[in-house]
């Protein structure tokens, strides 16, 4: 053997790799431009409130709800002449693993719950209207009593111990009671805090009694995690964490989940909506790296992604569009308005003048353009695209001091407020930042640092790992930090958990008695117009008292290959109504 022959070995190794790579499946077919590129983008629209019907429409008919909800996305267009096809497996992704798949105890929005289980009602991602689902209709028999009519013919998935039996009113009662269990593991129990009694009147009717009128109830019934489970499954398995424990009424059966690898779902052949779902199944892969995710869309290894199941930022959307212009995108606002959070129990933030000065000096437009690449909208205390009916409109916000483009007068006013608060020469604030937590926008804080320098405020940012971040937040051992707040898609949740005295996520310690009254009042006001007036008043109060520096409402893009049809990515239901998705290939 000569020396040069051994030098060839690395080359041989490379050739081996190329050989193996050549055994790989052929690259995904070049995307056919089936979906018109003129697909209308999601357009936020303020839907006027519909009068509250005392009796909802007949089963199956989408029924308006008295609670106005957001309009966020339009369905994937179906070109003329195309008819839905059965078959195909939808390939998607998950960035991490959910700690639980139990709809009532999981917090991870990336759990495959909406494929397996069904909520009592659901919120149409295209229209924002609360629609019947396994609860076919509802009657408000008084201000504090509602009758839920259970849809007939809905069957659980055919797995032991439930074995495909019919769902009844008793299951709805059991599930509502389980959601409200007074145990910390039941994460949405606070949504049913006003419910005093749930009882089955017969096999098809459930009566819910409230201690006072409860406006958010129907929206909470449409929360994707407020789903119907079978009592015998819970009794047998305890927590419904594992694959075989997951028995819902949904269109897909949980087939496999391998930690760190991915999982799969297969069509439920006994699904109550005949002829659905169109897809044979769904698979997901664990892809923790954003670069790999983009490459997977480019090479056609993934069919669709939305929200945390493969949704992408505005920047990533542009990168994919450059190489794959036929891929479809839908912007969906995140239920996570971004703020700069202040500990108002500590100096200097216990002085409202300091908070107002910062509010005046932070340039939201610059943050939206530079940090979010324009893929976000100005937001007050409530997101204008998530809650177009209730929120202070973007146009109005854009004229308000603090939210409007910065003027020299704003900066002068900010300096004046600081001087009045006893800081004529400015002040130094110790802030905390963290990376890799989805709802912390470190770049926003870094940009704000430069902006606040103009009024003499120096920000020092210390980085923390995520567990330290949560620990210091729990102990209220922090000063100033960027944050997003994820809540249910209900204006009540937005106000309560962030701004009510002592609320779990009111980390800054803000407490205002007038605000408390407004929060309670909007919750028990059933008339949408009257409720809107109260919510607007609450928002203006928050803008005035500045418990947080309200910044923006971020967007995330749902991604769909050109062959995907029938998907309506939206808030709450990342893939829309999954039983309607089909592939034109």
């Amino acid at each position: 053997m000569r020396l040069w022959t051994i030098a060839v070995l690395p080359g041989l190794a490379t050739a081996l790799i190329l050989l193996i790579a050549s055994c790989a499946p052929a690259a995904a077919p070049a995307p056919a431009p089936a979906a018109p590129s003129s697909a209308p983008p999601a357009a936020p629209t303020t839907r006027p409130p519909t009068p509250a019907p005392t009796v909802a429409a007949a089963p199956g008919a989408p029924t308006p709800t008295p609670i106005p909800t957001p309009i966020v996305a339009l369905p994937t267009p179906t070109p003329v002449g195309e008819t839905p096809k059965m078959g195909s497996i939808l390939r998607s992704m998950l960035p991490g693993e959910p700690s639980s798949n139990d709809p009532h105890t999981t917090i991870q929005i990336n759990a495959p719950v909406p494929f397996i289980y069904e909520s009592f009602l659901r919120q149409n991602p295209a229209s924002g209207i609360i629609e019947p689902h396994v609860v076919a209709r509802w009657e408000n028999i008084s201000e504090t009593e509602t009758i839920l009519h259970v849809r007939q013919g809905v069957r659980f998935q055919n797995r032991p111990p439930v074995n495909g039996r019919t769902m009844t009113a008793a299951d709805v009662v059991y599930s509502l009671q389980r959601i409200g269990t007074k145990d910390p593991r039941f994460l949405r129990r606070s949504q049913l805090v006003s419910v005093t009694k749930v009882e089955a009147l017969d096999d098809s009717r459930v009566k819910v009694t409230f201690k006072e009128p409860f406006a958010p109830f129907l929206t909470y019934l449409a929360d994707r995690f407020n789903a119907v489970v079978a009592k015998e499954a819970v009794e047998k398995f305890g927590n419904l964490d594992k694959v075989d424990d997951s028995i819902g009424t949904g269109p897909f059966l949980f087939e496999r989940a391998t930690p760190g690898v991915g999982g799969s779902l297969k069509r439920n052949p006994d699904y109550w909506q005949k002829g659905r779902p169109y897809l044979d199944g769904v698979t997901w892969s664990a892809i923790p790296d954003a670069g790999t995710l983009i490459a997977a869309y480019r090479t056609g290894r993934l069919d669709m992604g939305a929200e945390f199941w493969g949704g992408v930022s505005g920047e990533d959307k542009s990168a994919i569009q450059r190489t794959n212009p036929a891929i479809q995108f839908r912007p969906v606002p995140e239920v996570r308005p971004n703020v700069l959070n202040m500990n108002v129990t500590r100096k200097p933030f216990n002085d409202v003048r300091v908070r107002k000065a910062i509010h005046l000096a932070v340039d939201r437009q610059e943050i939206i353009q530079i940090v979010m690449g324009g893929s976000a909208q100005l937001s007050g205390p409530i997101g204008p695209r998530l809650f177009p009916f209730y929120a202070i409109p973007e146009a109005e916000l854009a004229k308000m001091p603090g939210f409007r483009p910065k003027t020299p007068q704003d900066l002068e006013d900010a300096k004046k407020l600081l001087a009045e608060a006893g800081y004529p020469n400015g002040l130094t604030i110790e802030a905390e930042g963290s990376r890799y937590i989805p709802w912390i926008n470190l770049q926003a804080m870094e940009l704000a640092k430069g902006q606040l320098k103009k009024i003499g405020v120096t920000i020092n940012i210390t980085l923390q790992d995520q567990a330290t971040w949560f620990a210091t937040e729990e102990k209220k051992d922090f000063n100033f930090r960027s944050r997003g707040f994820t809540t249910a898609v209900e204006v009540d949740a937005q106000l309560t958990v962030r701004h009510s005295c002592g609320a779990s996520r009111n980390f800054g310690g803000f407490c205002d008695q007038e605000m408390e009254k407004l929060i309670a009042e909007q919750r028990r006001t059933l008339d949408p117009e009257k409720r809107k007036a109260i919510v607007l008043k609450a928002q203006h109060l928050l803008v005035d008292k500045v418990p947080q520096i309200f910044l923006f409402e971020p967007n995330r893009y749902a991604v769909m290959q050109p062959w995907v049809r029938g998907a309506v990515p939206g808030v709450g239901l990342a893939f829309g109504y999954v039983e309607n998705i089909w592939f034109a290939k």
Binding site: T14, V261, G291, A493, S504
Partner: protein
């Protein structure tokens, strides 16, 4: 030799105990716990958090927690992950083979690359070939593997419209699917490791080539090829074997980034994830298993060296 192995195995016990105490203490010393990570952004009150900590036994005195954990370890029970609620032994059983496969591939690639290159570099000392190979070694050492990995994904997707499969498949289930995914990270890690190995091969070979017995062999008129392979290489291999063993241990900790980019469900990524969420039982058990693995590898290296070098005696 038997006595030596028995003695070494006995020494495992205090070593593992020290590691166990250290890991147990360190994870609790850092702020935050699993309860905060599980509840994250949920609507939780301080009372709820306290109740959840009590349910998981995290409110007990630290010595009691240590006693409970040590006792379960002695019984061979690694416990359950507080995050996934799965037995930790299952998690490790599933992930260990992935990392070992990655490590074996990386070591194979690093040998294939570094030994020939190191030999050329030593034999042609101070020639153009030497300078090129040394530059390669410095490049392999200094360019991080995540850069290679990111570039690989980018170039493959943009130029060839292909990327490795997104889901890991065990080798014995589908060798083709498995190798499509594993070869590229294996090669990248191998290139990264080959820098050290190449330099070590060059240095030791240069040293051996200057020994008297090599001069004697050459003076007898033995072919240069025979001198190199039969006399020099065999002796130069001894420190390289030691380095290889250490590299195997290094692979487990150093493969986190590659496992993340290629979506490999390996031990490195698992430990990284459980540390982030402060999953105490999983961190403790995984570190202990890892320590045991490294101890075994070290023992294996020592035994292998004794076979390679008759001068080494473990008495």
């Amino acid at each position: 030799m038997r006595q030596y192995i028995a003695r070494r195995l006995l020494l495992f016990i205090p070593t593992l105990l020290i590691i166990g105490v250290f890991v147990f203490a360190v994870v609790r010393w850092f702020p935050g716990d699993i309860v905060l990570m599980l509840t994250r952004d949920a609507d939780f009150s301080a009372q709820d958090l306290a109740a959840e900590r009590a349910r998981l036994g995290l409110d007990k005195p630290i010595l009691e927690q240590f006693g409970v954990w040590t006792w379960s370890m002695l019984k061979g029970d690694l416990g359950k992950s507080l995050y996934s609620k799965r037995p930790i032994v299952d998690e490790m059983q599933q992930r260990f083979p992935v990392t070992v496969e990655l490590g074996v591939l990386a070591i194979l690639f690093s040998i294939i690359i570094s030994v020939p290159v190191g030999v050329i570099s030593a034999v042609r000392q101070d020639s153009l070939a030497d300078y090129i190979t040394r530059s390669f070694a410095i490049g392999a050492l200094s360019i991080p593997s995540f850069w290679f990995a990111t570039m690989a994904i980018l170039i493959l997707s943009l130029q060839f419209h292909w990327i490795p499969p997104l889901q890991f498949v065990p080798f014995f289930e589908s060798p083709s699917d498995n190798l499509q995914l594993m070869l590229i990270p294996g090669l990248i890690l191998g290139i990264n490791m080959s820098g050290t190995l190449m330099r070590m091969t060059r240095t030791t070979l240069l040293e051996v080539l200057r020994q008297d017995y090599i001069r004697t062999a050459r003076s007898k008129g033995i072919l240069e090829r025979v001198v190199l392979y039969r006399h020099a290489m065999k002796n130069a291999l001894i420190p390289i074997v030691a380095i290889l063993g250490l590299e195997m241990a290094h692979v487990i900790g150093g493969s986190v980034v590659l496992e993340t980019i290629f979506g490999l469900p390996g031990v490195g990524k698992f430990i990284f994830d459980v540390i982030l969420v402060r999953d105490y039982p999983a961190i403790q058990a995984a570190n202990l298993m890892l320590a045991l693995f490294v101890l075994c590898i070290n023992l294996l290296i020592d035994i292998t060296q004794a076979f390679l070098d008759p001068r080494i005696r473990y008495e």
